[in-house]
Subunit: 483 residues, 2 copies
């Protein structure tokens, strides 16, 4: 049974999967290699695995729960023999449909692969199975005075495998980079069922082609990552947070530019526009903002306890200026939590504007941020859509949230036109379609606006080498060849 | 005319190039697209381009000097039409034969592509042609208060294209990472003559497969990189250096382990063993070392001027301990230069031991360094070879230099056996064959000891997609399929 919902803004809701429906014999073959209790095909289970964070959904034919690398090898071999498409799934916390089942596919869930295989603090590394929760890696690291820098918003439940597939990031990327920068090596199974090991266990290594980083961000289209060797860093001694209120977007984003022109690297540099502030007012999280606040920056610094005040002084010197209405600083955990309350409550709060949030995590050069936000505001006005912009301004990575009613065809047409205009403007400004969410099903129609035909042809050719039958996440990342 | 020298330790001195010798018609075709003055086939020019830093040499059929991306496209199309192998060359400063011409090949030199296409300090990026010298990128960046972190030993003459091809690094990698971490995007020409653009201009981007990092470290086997968009960082305000003398290797390397277990990240953490110290004595560079010094660490920290003393205090606390004989610190440029004199004079100085230096830049986990250096010392003793070990200890990346007489067949047999033993030990300890030099011709016979058959098969399959005729750097990186 297929039930793919068309959200209206994507011309290709049914991914290009050429594969057969699941027969009882195939189900039996999966059960034979994985065990009865690791293969579910009942309606209730299948319904649970039909979604990710997008409104799209599609019920899979079955859900597999392998509990080891060896089990993944076995299940892929069954899938190959029977030409069954596989949809790879971490926690389902993605924003671009990456974990929404392809029609006729079987979901491979990694939630029974949560072993920490090795923790070696002296060499600053940890080896984990793909299903380990992101925050758990960080928690273990901190017990030994280390930390795992990538901090996607979903880190309390997202899994390392999903983070690797999408090259997840978060606020700390401005100082520490993204998931890609913390992967030393991978163990994986290709779409042919071949077992591969990429990379190494050391912080330097140039032995052969860099398949590690090729797999990171490949959205499960090349291989099933089963184990990862992750790099850890020494945990900073102390953290300080600043909350800055501005009279308008331009004042706030000019301040972002000034921060990025001076030497102290903040570990977070987050922006919220006026609509984002409005969104959090009902919850009380904006009650202490000074009158006239129309944009907010959240800035964090980390380092040695002694050096932190000096760092925040330098950051404040860059952040204050025309339009800056108030600066608050916090050095202890409770104060920091209070300052971040507004930012953290945002993703949920904006749903008050409309039932469907289309969250585009576009990136523009930092110097283009103010002009781009002006453009988005003008677009919101002309297209009569609430658009909420916030995000990781230090990387130029904004979350532009179009709040829409999916059942309103006329509004959805304006939404589609707005998305088109946003993507074109992003690319015209020298930006990129996605900073951390990836392409999935939701952005594949835009991909060829950024990537030229020969480069895209090479990506397809590489896909063909890893997954000749096209069984892994069909309909994700690559543009629909029939369009 | 071919003149490939067999150094004795590589079973495949003649790379597996199936291509024809250059005819006058082919030369004319290159001249037609590049211009008369950009194609040299005279003996003197060809002899100049027969070498890199290895003793291996092979005279190319011609040397091409394209002056633009468009010229590179044209020359590759001629090469494709006539099935002419191309050897890509930066400054020829590589250590693994990567720029030594494949027999019958034409060298493509990037030295006439030294334009800085764009410098955008506000967005912390620079766009350069492949032939721009590494140090020049850093110099330009510093004029705007930024810097380019990768610092290979050859940075005064090495070119960005070569750095990208090999994923070059240097002492600062322990804090700042390698070339791979500073590439935002690339423009390149595949072995089919297709023009591709990879990556983006922003510090975040997950749009399509990561071909940028696939090309970095691919040793010119996939594409000719013509232009690179590089990420810059704010220049640290101040730098401090420490020189530490130890009674033996183990004391020094135990100190390295202690440094890597505390939070202050040095920006360099360099080790020199007893033979390395002996090597620099004749030059006077070791004249001020205390009696009994048998190992040396050079440690550098950078940061704010105010915070630096605190950083060095923390580092000294980790570095002192059993076997530490003396600690010197320097905060001004002249003092720092004096302390680094010993380290910098080393690469040249060790040639006094024997005419040929075989420099293996292996990596082991930091905790295995002391044991590995003990192993190398024992091997030097049993095999009666001077072996000098020094390098980037913070990354576990040692330069193990076997000093040999290439005309002494019996000694070369012992050398070969020693290399075998070293590589096997490195891999047994969880290390990797190369930290920053790459594989080239010199290490390809070891590659399949580290990389398993299915992973290597995928690398070959990717190569096939980028370069179906096998024209780019044949005989480099990949193991000889006939062995």
């Amino acid at each position: 049974m297929l039930s793919c919902t068309r959200i209206g803004c994507c011309p290709s809701p049914l991914p290009d999967s050429p594969h057969i429906m699941l027969s009882p014999a195939v189900l039996a073959a999966f059960r034979q290699v994985l065990g009865e209790d690791r293969v579910f095909a009942d309606d209730a289970t299948c319904a649970l695995y039909a979604h990710d964070e997008t409104p799209r959904h599609c019920t899979p034919e079955a859900v597999l729960f392998p509990d080891s690398h060896a089990a993944v090898v076995e299940l892929v071999r069954v899938a190959c023999a029977h030409r069954v498409a596989l949809t790879l799934r971490g926690a389902g916390s993605g924003n671009v449909g990456g974990a929404v089942p392809s029609p006729g596919s079987v979901v491979v869930s990694f939630e029974c692969m949560q072993r920490v295989l090795e923790f070696d603090p002296d060499n600053r590394l940890i080896v984990v199975e793909a299903g380990v929760v992101t925050a758990e890696v960080d928690r273990i690291a901190r017990e030994a005075g280390l930390f795992y820098p990538p901090d996607p918003g979903s880190s309390l439940y997202s899994q390392i495998g999903g983070n690797l597939a999408m090259n997840a990031a978060g606020p700390r990327a401005v100082k520490y980079g993204t998931t890609r920068d913390y992967v030393l090596g991978l163990r994986a199974v290709t779409g042919s069922g071949d077992e591969i090991r990429t990379g190494c266990r050391t912080t330097k290594g140039v032995t052969g082609l860099d398949l590690t980083r090729l797999l990171v961000g490949s959205e499960g289209t090349l291989a099933l990552i089963t184990e990862a060797t992750l790099k850890l860093l020494p945990a900073p001694e102390a953290v300080a947070s600043l909350r800055l209120c501005y009279a308008d977007n331009r004042s706030a984003l000019d301040a972002v530019g000034r921060v990025m022109r001076q030497p102290v690297m903040p570990r977070a540099l987050e922006f919220m526009d006026q609509r984002a502030i409005e969104a959090i007012r009902p919850s009380g999280a904006a009650s202490d903002l000074p009158a006239g606040t129309r944009a907010l920056l959240m800035v964090e610094a980390d380092g040695t306890a002694d050096g932190l005040a000096q760092q925040t002084d330098a950051l404040i010197a860059a952040l204050e200026g025309a339009g800056c209405l108030e600066i608050r600083r916090a050095f202890d955990a409770a104060e920091i939590a209070r300052l971040w309350l507004a930012r953290k409550s945002l993703s949920h709060a904006i749903k008050q504007f409309a039932p469907l949030k289309i969250n585009e995590d576009v990136v523009v050069p930092v110097t283009q941020l103010a002009g781009f936000v002006d453009f988005v505001d003008a677009l919101a006005h002309t297209q009569r859509l609430p658009i909420v912009s916030f995000g990781h301004a230090g990387n130029g990575n904004l979350h532009v949230n179009l709040m829409v009613h999916p059942d309103d065809a006329e509004e959805m047409a304006r939404t589609r036109a707005s998305l088109d205009a946003i993507m074109d403007r992003v690319l015209a400004l020298g930006g990129t379609l996605s900073g951390e969410h990836g392409i999935g099903t939701e952005k594949r129609r835009f991909l060829d606006r950024e990537i030229d035909p020969p480069t895209l042809a090479l990506m397809r050719a590489i896909k063909q080498q890893f997954d000749p039958q096209g069984l892994l996440n069909p309909g994700k990342l690559f543009p629909d060849p029939t369009h």
